[in-house]
């Protein structure tokens, strides 16, 4: 992996989120805010629909990087900005697309920048993963 270059695309991935995904994440994380599973509650607070948990989007977006490392490294830092909500339709759900590129190569850490989008709009900003790769 020593031949990585800045800008290089490492991997892409996509996940289709449905209401089932949201309920499952609510249970696993303990975040039971009803805006993540009830249309009436989402509408009552002025949202365009039921939203995916930001932390679910963040959680799934890093997985292609973990798959790419395949045990050859560890995540040492991961940060995102939640820039746009992911609205999850009750019927078809929504597909979240992730592209991971080499952002910077530091001494013993590689920064991987993620582009995360849904319905052709970026949903996370400054999504950066720092990984320590085993030599």
């Amino acid at each position: 992996m020593s031949d990585l270059v800045v800008g290089q695309e490492l991997i892409t991935g996509n996940v289709t989120l449905t209401r089932f995904s949201l309920v499952r994440y609510a249970g696993a994380s303990g975040d039971f805010n009803p805006i993540h599973y009830r249309d009436d509650v989402a509408a009552s607070v002025g949202l365009p629909g039921v939203l995916a948990h930001g932390m679910l989007t963040m959680g799934l977006a890093v997985q292609p990087v973990i798959d790419w490392m395949d045990g050859r490294g560890e995540v040492v830092e991961y940060g995102v900005r939640f820039t746009r909500p992911v609205v999850v339709d009750g019927n078809g759900g929504i597909t979240v697309n992730v592209t991971a590129k080499v952002g910077a190569i530091e001494e013993d850490v590689t920064r991987i920048d993620l582009t995360v989008s849904a319905a052709n709009q970026t949903v996370l900003g400054k999504a950066q993963v720092r990984v320590k790769l085993h030599q």
Binding site: V15, S21, R24, Y25, G27, A28, S29, G30, D31, V45, G54, M55, L56, M58, G59, L60, V62, Q63, I66, D67, D70, G71, E74, V75, V76, E77, Y78, G79, V80, R81, F82
Partner: protein, 148 residues
């Protein structure tokens, strides 16, 4: 009511220790679409040098949540939860969380800022294991939308 500016610098008491269960790690891994055998199979995790199954990087949010609950329950913060939006999140790891870890969180409010009618609260939660060794710091920026 705006966020109480005196909140900046406040350190909350340690949370009750959270014992990371193997099935909880697997359940969380399924929920974030994590497919690595290290997240699911103790033998694969041990073969890679871990004590047990490894939690996905964002699992620390579950531990952070206990710290945030203390912040949101404090009476004098001026925080109105119904106007709170999660703005940013970051995790800085010393080592991954594995099943069997007993983790304690200490939340510090590191900054309160006003920006364009909104209040930005930065909360840094330091998570340590039963030896007192640092595992991960989880940093959240919470945005409290203005009432205008």
């Amino acid at each position: 009511m705006p966020v109480n500016p005196e909140l900046q610098g406040r350190v909350f008491p340690p949370t009750t220790p959270y014992l990371v269960g193997r099935e909880k790690v697997r359940e969380f891994a399924r929920a974030v679409f994590a497919k690595s055998p290290h997240n699911h199979d103790p033998e694969a995790a041990r073969a890679a040098g871990y004590a047990d199954v490894v939690a996905p990087p964002t699992f620390a949010v579950v531990i952070q949540e206990a710290g945030l609950a203390l912040l949101l329950a404090a009476p004098d913060t001026g925080i109105d939860f119904s106007r709170i939006v999660h703005g940013e999140q970051k995790f800085s790891y010393t080592r991954p969380i594995v099943a069997g870890d007993e983790l304690t969180a200490i939340l510090t409010v590191t900054s309160i800022k006003s920006l364009g009618g909104n209040d930005m609260i930065t909360a840094e939660t330091s998570i340590t294991d039963s030896n007192g060794d640092h595992v991960v710091t989880a940093t959240s920026v919470l945005v409290m939308r203005g009432t205008e």
